[in-house]
Symmetry: D2
Subunit: 358 residues, 4 copies
């Protein structure tokens, strides 16, 4: 029962097949190959506009390289206080930006809110060059609490950001899951809502190692190729990325994968909601479940082979407090999560409550 | 006729098969998977010693991350003036080391010599903290001119370096080709000859994107895991690297691939040597040929589909000068270079001389 | 009426005389002069222990260079959320540390408290290398709200820090004012209370441009000389700093200057406290007053030539809220603040209340 | 007999008087004081054009901050192979530029020549983003060998640089000595000859610690104020620099000081030239003498109290080789060098030759 992360799978078989196909031919290096070219063309079609797109292997690289194009080393980047880029990516933003500062927007129930964002600008010092000046806003889609920003919400945050002269970055590590949960197009969720640069994650949703940095605002991509090279993120056999992306995008494969993951989470959510002793911290909108459960149940599930992570209480909504004997955990479903796994998990929980450990 | 670079192929089929096999299972992320563990164990056996090993996707990342463990930001790194790390990797060393300086050792016929290395130390300023202090030596194996340092030569350079307090790094982008051309073991070529850290490149010789940073001196690996993470080079699906390495090392596959590439270069070398109008800048020791030929022949070969790069005259030995009408080019063979390709190239050259363009 | 900052004066006349005296002779450069040597000796006596000491021109340089010796680029620095180093020194810490992160400890009434510091460690993620690991604590003495940490309080914060493996830095921009307000020695306030490195500011209290970075833990000073040089902070005519420090320390001159400044603040505080319409945000412990007053009074005082800054409401204690028509300001006294200036200020305030503007 | 460096003196008495005068008043901090404003106005008059000017304490800070405005972290800076910025300033350029690379132009007899500069461009790789692209040229005036570039020579180097898209920086640590030796104006030597930014050094020629970064091309100064702040080089009591500069520029005081230093060097040169056993490596054009003399004479002079530095043989012209028993030294005169000192030196030399040590 693998609910630890959506990075515990390999690639989907269709992605893997495309990679194998691309593997067998001679071609030029450093992204000058037909798969990379095709992948970029396909992204243009998907997003219905001209773009500059670059591929790298990890989300940390994608985010930090993208952000380094938006701010100077003496400027700041705003993001939610529990965003992956500020909590889980070491000091990668500082390395790539040459020492910009990450500033957390605290508050909101699992998402950044316009109110909290506006509050930052109201209180920010403006005594330059002593104080810092924020020049980029990063929105994590889906949020660090498994919630999805609607295109309207993205638009509202972007509008505030731009009023204050900030560019807008979207960390789309689970962008596919967000689109699968919303009734809007990739274009509506991004550039039409004011996003300047999107880090589109494929790794967590069906690829083996593939993130695309997509500049809708092409002025901002100046220097990206040089930054990627000097960071060691320009691979020589570019087909590694190009082929994965071609396979991932083909016939809406990416969206099918994300839809499957979301559906499994939704089904789990339904089952869990019916259990009194278990509480969901937030409604399940995509492929992540944040669950408060008895600590002994956690131990039981682990003993029968369920994998998942305990999660930081810091991220809980203000109105929820863990009692003694409760633990906060995260469950993640993936494109590969089988019905049988979910059923086994629910059954294991039921078993526990029928016969709880002392 | 692909003689442009050994990165113009995909992975060998055996490497690809292992990757496909590893793809289909659930496992933990971030290198905590059985393939990564197996790969590191196999490297320990290959090098006959305990090591700390880390995998990344590119040679630039491997080299720069390794070097960043050897020097402080106010210290310097010595390498041959035409080394890949000083010529072809942008300012990656500066980014990863936090601003150390790359210092070129000029001179030598295609390789760094003990004489030129000693000469650096004789002339270096020693007025600290104003002057720079070199703390790392980087040796490129095979050299940037296609030559191979014997284990004895590596040992001599290392000894000089260590007398002056420097650590020794080997850029082994084509380490496999070096071993295939020498009668020594991987251990003899590295730690037994004083190498502290090796960047072992698999990409150019049969993998799709895989470099191993191998610390023989384990004291020097402190902080590497953190450096790799903050540089965005820790992939979540670690099997991507682990599986490639397991496949590459299995049953001396890596050595077979390198041996094939070297043999094709050797055969080409033999054929070319017999042609009066063509000159080899250096003897061919591995899988690269550096060739001076009539400019019109270059044009002819390109017109019939041969791929290769013109090369910098700067790197030519002092006693060789290009005449008007001559061009300096590099030909590279790979694990995939077919006899038929080589024969076609030689035949195309013969055709040209039978009927040279006016 | 200059109450804007204690950097609005020049040097004290005794400091200036020593500088003039030192100016007239030949000597060696880069700190190899008798004044620098004498200054360091005098600091050893003052702090009653062996130290490594280095002089620079600004507090930002002193703090950032000191901190860069305490943390690696992937580690973090803790400080109070309104500390000068996190609010007013741009991204200097990031530049000098190579990209470490500044982490704010929020809460406390004008000072960092053990409770809030412990709370950080309780909630910090520990999933390395993804999460950050704090390795330095910075204490601002006197605090950003004009309060003074007693040696006992410093000791308690240090003890918590060291339990978690952090080094302790003290930003002593107004260290002299702190000592002048407490019954403890410089040694008791620093190394005896667990401080590893002190940035001792002379500029704000009688020098023209002079900060000393003093390592009590001499192991931590490794590389400082090189860091200072590469940051452009090693001056060639070292007497510029050495002479100022000799003059400043001579016959407890520094303490007299600080005592004078504190006394003037204390007298102002007394006068202001007796006025109903004026409120002090915190008790006055050194040479800064944080005052809530009618906005119209602010305008009146400025119109009659009083200089001071409006201050960020963010820093106010949680139980104090500004009403409409109130403004929060900071008044600073210096070694040069005359009785007449203070009296004029108080008189101007009295005038206003006798005849308030409509 | 102080011939070690022109930084072994204090400030000239006129500079010191202006500093003392400025010291006694209240004023605003951070460069918002009348002396700083006056100093910038006076520089505009001196250079006969509008400028952006910033003051810092050291040449290393001035040079590195200026260069950081001219290049991106993946670009390169060209300078003569023995330039102070590449030999004597640690890795300051790398720190301030975020990791650009310093590239030496080798060759020339004590100065960079158009031929050697052109040669760089001819041989530079142009395979971006792999290879480096130079974007700034730095000219040291007076050169590292004590020679002076005429305005015509500066113009020719600048023209070549600009043909290749480089900005031009002048390290004017001894700019005053250069102007004192030439028949051209400061304007003719700088912006009229294509210089974009000048680091004007006052420290070596009469100030205590003062360098001005002067942007003639004001577009390039974007971000300088922020860079200076985050590098800790914005002093709070800005008068420290402003007053020195006002005093230094007043009534051509700077030029008198430089002229005196040059004259003393010229007289020494004359005396030394008449001695057979002594050779000057280059003609003396400003205030530095590079002298080849018997090693025993060096010892003798040191024994009678003469101070000077041995110099690197690397910098000698190709046609000069040191014999056994010879040593290469540098003598520097300053604004304070007395006739009596020079006479004593010459007399000591004469004494030696009358009665040489065995």
């Amino acid at each position: 029962m693998y609910f630890g992360s959506d990075n515990q799978t390999g690639a989907s078989s269709k992605v893997m097949e495309m990679l194998a196909k691309a593997n067998s031919e001679y071609t030029h290096g450093y992204g000058e190959d037909p798969w990379t070219h095709q992948a970029i063309d396909n992204l243009k079609k998907l997003f219905e506009c001209d773009i500059d797109a670059f591929f790298v292997a990890t989300g940390t690289a994608a985010n930090s390289l993208a952000l380094s194009c938006l701010v100077q080393p003496w400027e700041a980047i705003l993001c939610h206080s529990s965003a992956h880029i500020i909590v889980d990516e070491s000091t990668a933003p500082e390395l790539f930006t040459g020492g910009s500062r990450m500033l957390p927007i605290v508050g909101g129930e699992g998402k950044m809110t316009p109110t909290h964002l506006r509050s930052y600008f109201k209180n920010a010092g403006a005594d330059y060059p002593h104080n810092l000046c924020a020049k980029a806003l990063s929105i994590t889609q889906i949020s660090e609490s498994g919630l999805v920003y609607s295109d309207k919400e993205v638009g509202e945050l972007s509008r505030i950001a731009k009023q204050h002269g900030l560019s807008v970055h979207m960390d789309g590590a689970r962008f596919a899951n967000a689109i699968a949960s919303q009734a809007c197009t990739p274009a509506e969720m991004t550039w039409k809502a004011g996003v300047d640069v999107l880090c589109l994650g494929a790794t967590k949703c069906g690829a083996l190692g593939l993130e695309a940095v997509i500049f809708f605002n092409k002025d901002l991509s100046r220097g990206f190729a040089q930054r990627r090279k000097r960071a060691g993120h320009l691979v020589s056999k570019g087909r590694l990325f190009g082929a994965q992306m071609v396979g991932w995008l083909k016939d809406d494969h990416w969206l099918e994968l994300a839809t499957h993951a979301n559906q499994q989470a939704s089904k789990l959510s339904e089952s869990l909601s019916s259990i009194n002793e278990i509480e969901l911290a937030w409604p399940v909108r995509a492929n992540e479940l944040f669950v408060i459960m008895p600590t002994r149940l956690v131990a039981h599930l682990q003993s029968v082979g369920a994998e998942f992570y305990e999660w930081s209480e810091n991220t809980l909504p203000a109105n929820i407090n863990l009692s003694d004997g409760q633990t906060f955990v995260r469950l993640v479903t993936s494109f590969l999560t089988q019905d049988s796994q979910c059923e086994l998990l629910i059954k294991s929980i039921a078993n526990y409550f029928e016969n709880p450990s002392p």
